[in-house]
Symmetry: C2
Subunit: 278 residues, 2 copies
């Protein structure tokens, strides 16, 4: 069957001979920002859709899984997180989830492209409902430079909510960046970074985690979760602990759609084919 390109947006994952398409009723916005092409569509089955440079960033329907899994597991793994840094995350979905945790004193969100946050405030108001929380701080600047210049030990949790490792974003996957995060983290600090698909990008996950281990984190842990509109429908995040155990986490009572205490533990179960590479 052939899809009508006037009604369907298609993202091709060329390395894997695979493509995902979403049907839309209207293109709501398109611009070339200083950094990338930004598009917003109204889809028929997934609510609104945001693209950056033709890649699906998020949809109304399924972003809850990603945003919850990028925030609650790492926050609950820290004994008392107060100061959080988000690198990327311009759609503000992670920010909203972080601010559900009562103990948080401030969250600093650092994204290069102010227009992503502008578009999210306009087209994804749910994600931005905590943007006016007085604990939220926004900087629109280079995340790598920001972390390099951050005061040592000034964050309890760093969340790297970045796009794929191409172009500018590739620096967010480097050993230098992981080392800068290590220095910016407090004694029991933890960083988490999205780490692509277990099915499509196993070697990327392995190399990311090996780089994290290389700069001195004492334990690395993977989280696995479904993510319908990302390549392969299956996604991962990698947590790097300065001084803590992935198996220990605080049980919290916050409102979520995907995450809960059972899911926290379950997400850490490692499929056999990912173990075999040990």
């Amino acid at each position: 069957m052939k899809l009508n390109a006037d009604k369907w947006f298609t993202e091709v994952y060329s390395d894997d001979g695979c493509a995902l398409s979403l049907e839309f009723s209207e293109k709501l916005h398109e611009e070339q920002t200083g950094w990338q092409k930004l598009e917003i569509y109204q889809t028929t089955g997934f609510g609104r859709l945001m693209l950056l440079d033709g890649c699906i960033m998020l949809t109304d329907r399924d972003n809850f899984i990603y945003h919850e899994m990028m925030t609650h597991p790492v926050l609950c793994s820290h004994p008392d997180p107060k100061r959080v840094l988000i690198i990327g995350g311009g759609d503000c979905g992670c920010l909203r989830e972080v601010l559900k945790h009562k103990g948080i004193k401030h969250v600093h969100q650092v994204d290069l492209d102010e227009r992503v946050t502008w578009a999210s405030e306009k087209y994804f108001p749910d994600l931005c409902e905590s943007n006016n929380d007085e604990r939220a701080i926004f900087s629109f600047t280079d995340g790598v430079a920001f972390v390099e210049q951050a005061e040592a030990g000034s964050y309890d949790v760093i969340i790297v909510d970045s796009v794929d490792p191409v172009g500018q974003a590739a620096r967010l996957y480097s050993e230098d960046f992981y080392r800068a995060c290590f220095n910016a983290l407090s004694e029991k600090g933890i960083m988490i970074a999205q780490s692509e698909s277990p099915l499509f990008h196993k070697s990327l996950i392995e190399s990311m985690q090996s780089r994290m281990a290389g700069v001195g984190y004492n334990d690395i842990s993977s989280l696995f979760f479904p993510q319908c509109t990302y390549p392969s429908g299956w996604w991962s995040a990698s947590m790097a602990f300065k001084d803590g155990k992935p198996s220990e986490f605080r049980k919290v009572d916050i409102e979520t759609k995907y995450y809960n205490n059972d899911i926290h533990q379950a997400a850490q179960a490692v499929p056999q084919f990912m173990r075999n590479s040990d």
Copy 2:
């Protein structure tokens, strides 16, 4: 981007405004069997692909997750499974996994369409590598009638590896069928049925499980797992226990690519939005 229909197969999930495409280099086979249209493609990224009536049944690359999750959890949840019935499953992938368990005395695979098994033997030889095991029995007949006529208590585990609940296959989702399975199961018997996508088909999962409970099973449990080439990339199976607890399972040492003891437990963690319907 528009995909060239000469090089890409596309399955549209119309209810959800979503489509998955796989690039192929060659169509290897096409026939109208007595029951359905059967096609085999050579893809560029997923090995071989089998379609029935235009729906993706399996690919070489990702079928391991589905087949392992449809077999090992249910078998390990039974104290000593010896007699197994597979309804559907003509590709023989479940059969192969079941036969990895040493205690199995016989597995009876009952699929309507002999041509599916023919095609699997020809194009997916890996899946069929245990077809000549002397414990394997094949019948090509109607699964519902077969179960209704089965001797009471004659199976320890029944695996319902069926297509979506449309046409002929809809009967495999009925209360009558679940009752027939209940009768055919031994005292500590367990049935498992594939139950579609948590993201796309939540109400189907709920109604299946409610029908299972309605015919007398004493406990019902869900399994969740990624499945790249099925709608939404996220899938489920439902287990119904005559007399057992989903939380108890035997640890086994068998060769797998996805399943292991941690994954068994993890797959039972219920996402918050699926709990809210309790």
